[in-house]
Symmetry: C2
Subunit: 586 residues, 2 copies
């Protein structure tokens, strides 16, 4: 259980959070003392749909205040109901001639305090109704006794539907009827890896051990209805949750009916401490199982953080049957979904879209291949090209044990094998496909770019890849921009300078940082006039010079303090490049 | 560190999460093998703005794909860059005649693989540009060396601005220029209570102990730049973070200038494991400090989960200077903010609004009071009223020690004192304000409703409050609906039945559940004809009867197994009600 907090005591935490919420939304007002967030310009001729409850469930409910959703949210302290007076004052902040509908989660404190406010407001002559939010299916009818089902994330769907409908100018009775119909069309269940810790309270809630999860966890650290150990595979877990939610043969539950042809919304809720990565995978698992096991294809899938238990590592699944709602209250089902999708400027209601069926994607989708096409080229003597490439490859293969030894000492040891893998692939392409046989320099470079990606990989593969891809580009550009009789060496030298410039856009390494750049930079500079023999000498000296350099990039930086300058091996990447150059220059 | 997961091994996790993401948005496409989410109808005549990077940072970047934001997101494995081939295939999924702008976070792998894709695509004749996202200010220029600043949550602002601008039909060069200008106008720093754990990897990252936090934590479990112990108060911490971000005298930082007149956006980012409650309070603290210490009033405040490190309990603050951006690229500042606010159908970009200044609210806002006004009444003999109320109060005061004893055994021990507090307040109102002197029954009931809220509280206060508020309502209604000569007792009896009905809407308790309802229900039934003496006898018997009932609601349910039916004390709430009734009947 995460017991560390930036706010270790709860003093003022809720009110600071409310201030932080309204800071993001200029259309929200705040009754600071009453802990009420309200919509400053809620139209008097629309029903005011209001919710609230204890804090600690953010973004519920303050995040849902806005046009087309809640008129106000009444907030209690963490996990504690607001008082009836707060509720009344919240209602009075959004005066309505049409009446007030209070969406109340089914907990004793909330039901009583909102209920008291409701009766007091009626005494003042207001039209007030309560819509009870009670979507939990973890407890069956038999054991649930009279408390009945708790209000969980499904309440946010009530907030949205009723707020949307009210914004269309619907009457008090119509909004209330939709609320009651939607209330019985919602089922929710949660599963959690652990409880949460409330800032400022003792840590005695009893966390779960490493192999245990709970099903039917509440949103106030109430223990789950079942503990399960070991933690089952996710598809097994979700299967079980869906059974509780849907199974029509479960006589103790089956709280709402679900037919394959129904328009059903799936809402996947992060109780606060789950990674979004896992939440999205859970969403996919839930969609897959609902389709497979119940032949229900959801009309909408919404996933996010709707109703939390602080930062509990837990999630809940909610199904909302809009077809059943439509049947109960006579609003057509397309209208119910329109209310669900309608615009709101509330901070925390997400954009909703139609469900996107990807089931055909997984099998049919293969990574596609790219290759470069070109209409211009440099053609050299095929034998010379073949010989130079083989010499460069042979140099690397011969020095590989040394490169590996040096990199094992200073880095992660893969440098030698990475470069060797590249030249072996090059030799293979020459032997099996006759890569050098046409004498096309661009063809060879194109092949090298592919090899750096497919056969080398890692940082070194990417550096080589960028350099050769850029060299390809700059050769084409240089060929187009220089007279036809420019010597090949000169064209290559000019293009090499530009390729190095491109590479430097993508890597911060510069001379002195103990990387391949320590050879490449001086080499390219020396090669400027096309004299590769001279440039190769410079490259050799530069490779030797890396023995005097301390690492500044990558993993090697962490071990550098272990060495004195005198005993450093050369940089293996730089040395490998020098060996390649010597081969090409030979 | 939270090391439990629903997906304990990482196999397929990223791809399942991508499927789960597109399930929510019918306009998104997925290249399953390449882990690319793309906008299916991205217009060919608009620049394709593309981002990506390792997974584990959700909702970044897949959650930002949509009209007016990213054309595609290229996803690697958890905390690992995608390959150049993935990037190329992602670009090809959203073909553009205007070109491709890659927003790349400044990490070696991302820069190199996106860089290689860039060079290869240029070789194919495409227009491709890279905008580097490097907003971290935790490392100063001196120690940062050549790696430079890391890309953190500020990159999402780049996604938004460039995507918005591209949707207006801006040219490749214009979008690129905005990207470069915005890139140097962003500063971000993070603070974390702990690292996160990557599913399927060893747990050897070294969590932080209970008293330590880190400043400058990365988004891949990179250690922070500083550890701080003990954990400082939040305002001290945020002060320090803001210094790193803004302080113009910090020669090693001051990466972007901030003037009081600048239009500045504050983005507060949950790295994944923080409760939204704490995040919102942190937001308020940051806004307050920026205004106080730097005289900067943000134009926009956005808070949420933008760029995570799985579920790390950490947050980051980002400041974006849109005025400085405007100066750098020539786009007017109002346009920059328009791009920021513009609609997008991307799943995870929030609705943005103008900053809402609440600084005047805190002092001026007091909870307001409500009281009921009424034009109809029941007036009885003041002396009788006074005597009955005093007798009821005396009964409760006399029995209080017993009620407390019984409730200590079975519940949380506050029942006796709660009821006593109510009757003491009633006596005070009678003695000091002459409450009963006018003989007005409605006035007394109105006062009792206020007392239940102000002086009793808790479940019992709310139950009494609802009953008396409902009784007030039903008395007024009954008075209006019955002939003037109806006996007072009869009117009260009829109203009592209706009040009980209202109460039962707000509480699930019924007879036999061992609550106050065990006395109230039979009493009200027996009182139907207005004979209070007979009804009081029924109430007494019912109170005695609670000795045979096991608790089914509230805290008492947890200890019920400790008792056998024979030794139970009566229910203290029910008994208290019976004592009140005996007083009123006397």
């Amino acid at each position: 259980m995460a017991t560390k907090h930036f706010y270790p005591v709860a003093d003022g935490l809720v009110q600071q959070a409310l201030l932080g919420t309204v800071a993001s939304h200029s259309k929200l007002g705040l009754l600071y003392a009453d802990k009420v967030i309200y919509h400053k310009s809620h139209p008097r001729n629309q029903v005011a749909v209001i919710s609230g409850g204890g804090s600690g469930h953010e973004p519920a409910h303050a995040g849902y205040v806005g046009s087309g959703m809640l008129a106000a949210a009444i907030c209690g302290d963490t996990f504690a109901s607001p008082s009836a007076k707060q509720v009344q004052n919240g209602c009075m902040a959004v005066p309505s001639d049409q009446g007030y509908i209070l969406i109340v989660t089914n907990y004793t404190g909330d039901m009583l305090h909102f209920g008291l406010a409701c009766e007091k407001m009626k005494a003042e002559g207001h039209k007030v109704g309560v819509v009870k939010s009670a979507d939990d299916v973890s407890v069956g009818r038999q054991n649930g006794g009279m408390v009945g089902r708790r209000g969980l994330a499904g309440t946010i769907i009530l907030d949205k539907l009723l707020g949307s409908m009210s914004a269309t100018g619907a009457s008090f009775e119509e909004v209330l009827a939709l609320g009651q119909a939607a209330g019985v069309s919602l089922v929710t269940i949660s599963a959690g890896l652990d409880h949460c810790h409330v800032p400022g309270r003792p840590t005695a809630y009893g966390g779960l051990d490493h192999t245990t999860l709970e099903i039917g966890m509440g949103i106030h650290n109430e223990p789950g209805v079942q503990t399960v150990s070991p933690i089952p595979p996710i598809d097994v877990l979700i299967d079980r949750l869906l059974q509780y939610m849907i199974d029509p043969s479960d006589r103790d539950r089956a709280y709402a009916p679900f037919e394959p042809t129904d328009e059903v919304v799936l809402l996947v809720n992060n109780l606060g401490g789950m990674s979004t990565l896992e939440m999205r995978a859970i969403t996919q698992c839930a969609v897959t199982q609902i389709r497979k096991n119940y032949s229900i294809t959801p009309s909408r899938v919404v996933a996010g953080t709707f109703m939390t238990s602080l930062n509990a590592p837990a999630f809940s699944l909610t199904l909302f049957n809009s077809t059943y709602t439509a049947k109960q209250c006579g609003v057509p089902v397309y209208k119910v979904l329109e209310y669900f999708d309608a615009e709101t400027d509330a901070l925390s209601w997400p954009k909703t879209h139609r469900y996107n069926d990807t089931s055909a994607l997984v099998e049919n989708n293969k990574a596609s291949e790219n290759s470069i096409s070109y209409a211009i080229d440099i053609v050299v003597d095929p034998d010379t090209l073949d010989r130079k490439l083989r010499k460069a490859a042979a140099n690397v293969i011969a020095i590989e044990p040394k490169l590996t030894e040096w990199d094992t000492e200073m880095g992660d040891g893969d440098c030698g094998k990475t470069i060797e893998a590249g030249v072996l692939a090059l030799l293979q392409a020459m032997d099996e496909e006759g890569l050098a046989r046409s004498g096309s320099v661009l063809k060879v470079i194109d092949a090298i770019v592919a090899i750096t990606e497919d056969r080398m990989g890692g940082t070194l593969g990417a550096v080589f890849g960028i350099f050769f891809a850029a060299l390809f580009n700059s050769l084409v550009a240089t060929l187009s921009a220089t007279p036809n009789n420019t010597p090949v060496e000169k064209v290559i030298a000019m293009a090499t300078v530009k390729a190095l410039d491109s590479l430097r856009v993508h890597t911060p390494a510069k001379e002195g940082d103990r990387t391949v750049m320590d050879v490449m930079i001086p080499f390219v500079e020396a090669f400027k006039d096309g004299n590769i023999a001279e440039a190769a000498k410079v490259a050799k000296a530069a490779a030797e010079g890396t023995k005097k350099l301390l690492p500044k990039l990558g993993r090697a930086t962490y071990v550098s303090s272990l060495y004195t300058r005198d005993v450093l091996p050369p940089d293996p990447g730089a040395w490998g490049v020098h060996e390649l150059i010597q081969g090409l220059a030979a």
